[in-house]
Amino acid sequence: MATFEPVLTKGVGQLDLTDVAAYRKNGGFVALEKALKDMTPESIIAEVTASNLRGRGGAGFPTGKKWGFLPKDGRPRYLVCNCDEAEPGTFKDHMLLEQTPLQLIEGLILSAYAINAAHIVVYIRGEFLEGYRIFMRALSAAREAGYVGDNLLGSGYSADILVHRGAGAYICGEETAMLESIEGKRGEPRLKPPFPANAGLFGMPTVVNNVETLCCIPHILTRGAAWFASIGPPKSPGPKIISVSGQVQKPGNYEIPMGLPAGELLQDYAGGLLPGRTLKAIQPGGGSSAAIFAEDLHTGIDYDSLAAKQTMLGSGGFVVMDDTTCMVRASMTLVRFFEYESCGQCTPCREGGQWVHRILRRLEAGEGSDADLLVLNTINDTLTGTNLCPLGDSIMPFLLSVLRRFPQEFAEHVTLAGCPFDPARRMVAA
């Protein structure tokens, strides 16, 4: 059974961490008090850099390095918190927002202090209505307690937090689309460069960080970079919350040390597969990630180990599929999500997505042909790697990984003129 002592989720489920006193008792605001008293912004950035913390939003970019990119040209800077979590199979930020909002607030103020941000904006996914309410209550409590607002703890540093709610677009989780959305425009990714560090929100230098990334900051400052860096592989260390879903005994959010083998997460944390089932595929990093299979269970859950398997840690959404799952149907469901969420700027993403979706839908309905399989097998060359933002490149990875692994399953949909997992059809075929 799991032995890792939780860091980010410590007390979650036991204490009411939305309460300032309870959060303090749990070790909260120690870092903020220490930092505002004894630490310079530069030393915080140095500490975060030394911790090797990598962004938890998906791309895994080193956080200290990102902060260091901000030009020192006197323009006001902004810190934006990405709480738009909409990646299929991912629900960790949702939990952090609702369960420990003060931890996020502490992380925000610390980060804003480190980069000397003039304003903080938290972009909360529109559907997180309850999370938004909880966060707003926590925010006013923190403000009353003097952790947010003017002249924090007598340090002379002031910071306030502005909350912006999304309106139901996955693409607004992409950082530049998020900036457009906050600016009141259509939420669509910008052409880069310029990067947000140079020209972000309203053209000003901006840092965008994920909720979980920000939640790590207080702990790095209280317990030290060396402690953080010692958890898991040195190049992608730290505690990590994984959202486990799919056909397992105990789906849910689990905080693990980076590098934990996938099999241990599945067995020790999530209770293993359902009785009598065998493993077919796992998406280790949300809907955008390519699948890993039974022989990959020894693979560590961290950025580099998963990258070596041609997939990614991504957002940390761990979706488990067993032998009862139809790969055509699973792919169809995912592709439908991406084609529906495509902002429509890029030709390959906009047109290719809907085409692939229509093909899969037809295959699943028993109306597919060999020509369709040929398209699925070749379209990746023109659909992936040709788009402006990573959404377009997320349409194919899972489909391609299972198409290569289970080609006969796709072919069967053509020869049987239907889905072999459909019980009625199985009888006919037999």
């Binding site: 902002c343 906009r350 020509a371």
Partner: protein, 809 residues
């Protein structure tokens, strides 16, 4: 190229494109560098006038040492870059993008306006797949969407390159055209769901790379390969945009931009673009007309010329003749008209000015349109460029939006501008005074200390490195006060310049050609005593002191400030000859009407507001009995026995004009001599007694107002405003005016019926009345100052619908 593109510094870098080595300025976009290298990269979303957005992905190229293909439209060259624009990988990517674009494309090329000049057709032929791998029905989207008065949109043909929406945002700064919905369900529409109304809408049909945005005027009318092109210049306003006229079998089908970076930057406005179908309406004059009692009846050209000769001869000998016009003629014809007045009729009674404009040129500090691009401050008064010089306004919008140019508008009512501007409420009669105060304040260096808004403006002027003034040459006092101010600023090393917006398309050309009572061609003082101004001629005609008037391309009955005087003069003068394209209010009062050729039907030159003389070619032949103004003038001159005095030939006329100008150059110094003006000054607008129903009348311009071509053009008809008057909400409440109701405005020269509008742009006590509308001529309410007073009451009658087939008055 506009200066704001993250351009290209002067440092050169070496690059290799498809094997050819070249050196280009650092920062050049790969797509532009490829052009220099003699190859071309296909583009859809990229447009050289707009910021790169990198959406369509057709321009992917291979750059050595970069693993992924890169978009040529947004990648900038760096030293040593090696680019391949037609490698195997690039071909595959292009083929892929085209396959995607064609998936659900309707392929209705055979009936598509764009067929033959379509980038989707062309690139598919060059780089695309021959066959579609789509095995299911295409997805459908709305076709024939009525986007607004000028455009029909086919959403199925749209490839979502967004050039149109970006044009409306970046170039027009109007932000009305937008993408609706998301992904492949995206549609082009307007932000408020209403019609797409813009003075610049036609440009989107041109930059649309496919046949999605089609122009109502051109829809299903011709195929590109059937069109004959003629290079022309728009003469609808004084900006002088360059454009091309495309005709088929002798009939104009459409007009098209012809980029001149220094004038139009590749755009034209919708008035310029769409005002040509009036030529094919029944209201277009095709035969000479002669008065028979109350009616005008058709006659032969010779009879018309003979009657002119018979009437003009004695009037000329008696010194009781006048000539009005020039601002709507070519330079050559304006020269011919003044020669006709001076040499054939022997009078200096010639004047092109039939509006409030007194001068069409600045006496000094003449600026160029491109001076707006990097101006720190633009000071506008009198002129109102959004309605009177649209493409100048486009340049100004961009300068304000992109270069932090400050726009300061001084005038009697709040302007409606899409970009940020400072508004200084000032009545025209007081602007001279303001300029003088500003000059004094700047001169005495009091800009730092003083308070009040004069000091505030002076401070802004003092801080502005380059100042461009834009006005309409209406008020001599404010113009000379402006010169004083600019001289003071220039003395403190500010760069200064002036642009005078012409009241007519070729106002400046007419002025330069000598269509004023005291100056001949080239601004040389004319021999003999100065003649009468338009105002003086009309006064004399009304008083019975003139026997004949010859008017070419002018409609004083509608446009002259004192409308009552103009109508009285034209009715009373014993003989009136008018050369016109349609039966205007003025032509309807004539004894002889000559039908004239339009600019598309002749060749010559026009001079724009900068003083730049531009050649325009002939696109189509005029109808049989329709002559150019020069030919008409020459015909009448010959009938009077002066064949040698006026040539009908543009080349000969131009030679004469140029000769006269170079002769004049020796006598005219740096300071351009000023045309003689009437004594009337613009009045200060007086605030009237708040208990009264009497309002001060201020006429307001509109791009589509006027009694000539636009009044008869079916293409511009949907954009034409209905006569209206705007009053302040306070006044509306006080006198009980309800928006939308009919009002009667009664003034000294009669009354007009208009639609009531209520808005804060009208100062209290003022009614802003749409000017130059034949169905409700605002000049009935005005005096020579250009202002007037009128009482407002509810109209008794319902509005009469004006039909295109008008009967003569």
């Amino acid at each position: 190229m506009s200066a704001d593109r993250p351009a290209a510094s002067r440092r050169m870098v070496n690059v290799v494109i498809d094997g050819s080595a070249l050196s280009v300025p650092e920062g050049t976009l790969v797509v532009e560098a490829a052009k220099l290298a003699g190859t071309s990269v296909p583009v859809y979303c990229y447009h050289p006038k707009m910021d790169p957005v990198g959406l369509c992905r057709i321009c992917l190229v291979e750059i050595e040492k970069t693993p992924k293909l890169q978009i040529a439209c947004a990648t900038r060259v760096t030293e040593g870059m090696v680019v391949h624009t037609s490698s195997e990988r690039v071909a595959q990517a292009r083929n892929g993008v085209l396959e995607f674009l064609l998936l659900n494309h309707p392929l209705d090329c055979p009936i598509c306006d764009k067929g033959g000049e379509c980038d989707l057709q062309d690139f598919t032929m060059s780089y695309g797949p021959g066959l579609s791998r789509l095995t299911e029905p295409k997805l459908h989207k709305p076709k024939r969407v009525d986007l607004g008065p000028t455009i029909v949109l086919d959403e199925e043909r749209c490839i979502l390159c967004r050039r149109c929406t970006r044009f409306d945002d970046e170039i027009a700064q109007e932000r009305n055209l937008v993408v609706i919905d998301r992904g492949h369900r995206s549609l082009i529409g307007t932000s408020d769901g209403g019609p797409y109304r813009s003075y610049f809408s036609g440009n989107t049909t041109e930059i649309c790379p496919v046949g999605a945005l089609t122009s109502k005027a051109y829809r299903f009318r011709a195929r590109p390969w059937d069109l004959t092109h003629a290079d022309s210049v728009c003469a609808q306003c004084s900006v002088g945009c360059n454009f091309r006229i495309d005709s088929r079998f002798g009939r104009i089908m459409r007009t098209f931009t012809r980029e001149n970076l220094e004038i139009d930057d590749g755009w034209i406005c919708d008035r310029g673009r769409y005002t040509f179908n009036y030529l094919y309406e029944p209201t277009r004059l095709r035969r000479p007309l002669m008065r028979r009692g109350d009616d005008l009846a058709e006659c032969s050209l010779d009879d018309a010329a003979a009657l002119c000769a018979e009437k003009l001869g004695p009037a000329a000998r008696a010194g009781r003749v006048g000539v009005i016009g020039g601002g709507r003629l070519s330079d050559e014809e304006a020269f011919a008209l003044q020669a006709f007045a001076r040499q054939v009729l022997g009078t200096n009674n010639i004047d092109y000015r039939v509006h409030l404009q007194k001068f069409a040129s600045p006496a000094r500090f003449g600026a160029r349109l491109i001076d707006i691009d990097d101006a720190s401050l633009v000071l506008m008064f009198g002129a109102y460029t959004p309605e009177q010089a649209p493409i100048l306004d486009l340049r100004l919008r961009r300068a304000v939006a992109r270069h932090h140019t400050q726009l300061m508008y001084i005038g009697p009512y709040r302007p409606h501008l899409p970009v940020e501007a400072q508004y200084v409420e000032y009545t025209p009669g007081a602007i001279a005074d303001l300029m003088m105060q500003l000059a004094d304040t700047v001169h005495q260096g009091r800009t730092e200390s003083g308070d009040g808004f004069v000091a505030d403006i002076a401070r802004r002027l003092a801080q502005a490195e380059k100042i461009i003034a834009v006005h309409n040459g209406r008020d001599p006092a404010s113009v000379s006060a402006l010169d004083r101010l600019l001289e003071t600023l220039a003395g403190y090393n500010h760069r200064v310049g002036v642009l005078v917006v012409g009241s007519q398309g070729n106002a400046r050309g007419a002025e330069a050609a000598g269509c004023v009572p005291n100056l001949g061609p080239g601004y040389a003082p004319c021999s003999g005593e100065a003649g009468m101004t338009t105002g003086e001629m009309l006064k004399a005609a009304a008083d019975g002191a003139l026997d004949a008037l010859f008017i070419a391309g002018a409609n004083p009955a509608l446009t002259f400030a004192d409308g009552a005087l103009a109508r009285r003069a034209l009715e009373n003068v014993p003989f009136l000859a008018v050369a016109e394209q349609v039966l205007t209010e003025t032509a309807a009062l004539a004894d002889i009407v000559f039908p004239t050729a339009s600019f598309a039907e002749k060749r010559g030159h026009v001079t724009n507001l900068e003083g730049r003389r531009q050649a325009f070619g002939q696109a189509v032949e005029p109808p049989v009995d329709v002559l150019s103004d020069a030919e008409i003038i020459a015909l009448v001159a010959r009938a009077m026995g002066h064949a040698e005095s006026v040539s009908p030939q543009p080349a000969a006329l131009l030679a004469g004009l140029v000769r006269a100008e170079s002769a004049a150059e020796r006598s005219v110094g740096d300071l351009l001599p000023r045309a003689k003006v009437d004594a009337v000054q613009p009045a200060a607008v007086e605030k009237v007694d708040a208990t009264h129903r009497t309002f001060t009348i201020i006429p307001v311009p509109h791009l589509y107002s006027g009694g000539g071509a636009v009044a008869h053009d079916p293409g511009t008809a949907p954009m034409r405003p209905r006569p209206y008057a705007i009053v302040n909400p306070e006044d509306a409440a006080r006198v009980g005016v309800v928006p939308g109701e009919r009002l009667t405005l009664s003034g000294s020269g009669g009354s007009i019926d208009v639609e009531a509008r209520v808005g804060p742009q009208a100062p209290v006590g003022v009614a802003l009345v749409l000017a130059d509308m034949p169905e409700a001529p605002a000049n009935k309410l005005l005096d020579a100052s250009g202002f007037g007073t009128a009482t407002i009451s509810k109209a008794a009658s319902v509005p009469e619908q004006r039909s295109l087939e008008r009967v003569s008055a």
